[in-house]
């Protein structure tokens, strides 16, 4: 053990201090600037090598090829350009980290939002079928984390039938289907049934992506109105 500590100390002493501005700002290592000259001042970063972060290093993501980044960046930017600089400031989102095979505790995920660090990590290899909509879903989590008082889960849950109960967490359930129901019954996708915040994010993402079902039931209608009202409280100029 002493030898191990000695080797660690030696490694520390021979390693010069590295000036990593991105790490200094958002505490994610191995990133580089992809594009920071954007209309709404979002800063796009990409992994220059795999990184591990989080409690017990449970979040992992990997470097993407330049070709994949260029292709997906256009899609991400097109969708996120719908949020104005003013709105992004209000919700505390500034950095978009692009990488692939994103996972948290071994579970694959499309994105990891962190409104404290103003960062959204996006898996650019996430299922193309849902990719654009999921971007808005993840943005909603940033909104939700910044405005929990507006998007009150108790009020939201009352929209549902009395016998319905959400799972304790989004990963504690098998309800992960992202296909939009053609005839919704208060829920817009299977994943909506997981937790209240995921349900809200699913409604918001469908509103943003513009693929609400043609038939909307009364419960879902109440949920849509709730989301619209909540967003207008944050920014009355936001077009939803």
């Amino acid at each position: 053990m002493k030898l191990f500590k000695f080797i660690l100390l030696c490694l520390f002493l021979i390693s010069p201090v590295q000036a990593d501005t991105i790490y200094e700002l958002i505490k994610i290592p191995h990133l580089e600037i992809y594009n920071i000259k954007t209309e709404n001042k979002l800063r796009y970063l990409n992994a220059k090598q795999a990184f591990t972060i989080g409690v017990d290093n449970n979040i992992n993501c990997f470097k993407s090829s330049k070709q994949d980044l260029d292709k997906k960046y256009k899609i991400i930017e097109k969708n996120l350009n719908r949020y104005s600089q003013n709105f992004l400031k209000k919700i505390n989102l500034k950095y978009i980290v692009m990488c692939e095979d994103l996972s948290i505790s071994g579970i694959k995920t499309a994105g990891i939002p962190d409104n404290i660090m103003k960062t959204l990590i996006v898996d650019i290899k996430f299922n193309d079928k849902y990719f654009e909509r999921v971007l808005h879903h993840e943005v909603f989590h940033i909104i939700y984390d910044s405005y929990k008082n507006i998007f009150d889960e108790k009020i939201w849950s009352k929209f549902n039938p009395k016998e319905f109960k959400y799972a304790k967490c989004s990963t504690c359930t098998e309800k992960i289907g992202l296909d939009t129901y053609s005839k919704p019954d208060g829920f817009i996708t299977e994943y909506s049934r997981s937790t209240a915040s995921e349900d809200m994010a699913e409604v918001f993402s469908h509103l943003m992506y513009g693929n609400l079902p043609s038939e909307v039931d009364p419960i879902l209608q109440k949920k849509i109105e709730f989301i619209k009202k909540g967003i207008s409280k944050i920014d009355e100029n936001f077009i939803l």
Binding site: V17, A19, I33, I36
Partner: protein
């Protein structure tokens, strides 16, 4: 009787070579010891400033660093900085955080004063004037020499600590309150003591004085 022997030409050349080598070594040693040798020391009195009321002169080991302040960009931040400069609060304060070719940071008035440094707490000290609001809404290019107010991970926690960047840092825009830019003497800052293995400096260099020009 000792016979006097004349040195041959080659012996004279060797002697001369050794002499020159010796002189060269001594001179080099003395020159290399002086880290400020090739650093120009600017005299603010010889410079014609457009806005002399917003010029601050930071004097450190290798000379003067002349900073132009931007109250139109960050009125609250510049006012705080001027208040502390006028009260001479920054005199004898350490450059406690220095990253080679990246930035120098000073201004911990509580734990960074010469003769009273607390290495365990340096960087966390306060001025006693309270924190001020971050001013990050206006456009500002963080180019080499830009001066900003340091803060904790949270906004609106700026106080007395400031940093000067030694390279362009475009990501700092919108993150840190800019208060000005070095217009003369950036090389003086490149000579501030740093450590290769740590951002925080043991036995750091200090600010000799920091004054408003007018």
């Amino acid at each position: 009787m000792i016979e006097k022997i004349k040195a041959s030409t080659s012996e004279k050349i060797i002697f001369l070579f050794v002499l020159i080598l010796g002189l060269f070594s001594i001179t080099s040693f003395l020159l290399l010891k002086d880290k400020c040798l090739f650093v120009k020391d600017y005299d603010p009195k010889k410079i014609d400033f457009k806005d002399p009321n917003n010029i601050a002169v930071l004097n450190v080991g290798c000379g003067n660093v002349i900073i132009e302040l931007y109250p139109e960009i960050s009125p609250i931040g510049v006012e705080r900085f001027k208040t502390l400069v006028r009260s001479k609060s920054y005199d004898g304060v350490a450059f406690h955080r220095v990253i080679k070719n990246k930035l120098v940071q000073a201004g911990d008035l509580e734990f960074g004063k010469k003769g009273n440094i607390d290495y365990g707490k340096i960087g966390t000290g306060k001025s006693g004037l309270g924190t001020i609001k971050s001013e990050i809404d206006k456009e500002f290019n963080y180019l080499k020499g830009s001066v900003g107010l340091a803060r904790t991970q949270k906004y609106d926690t700026e106080d007395s600590q400031f940093f000067i960047i030694l390279q362009d840092e475009p990501l700092y825009e919108g993150e840190f309150t800019p208060i000005g830019k070095v217009i003369y003497g950036i090389k003086v800052l490149e000579k501030i003591k740093y450590l290769d293995k740590s951002e925080y400096v043991l036995r750091p260099d200090f600010i000799n004085s920091l004054r408003m020009f007018n």
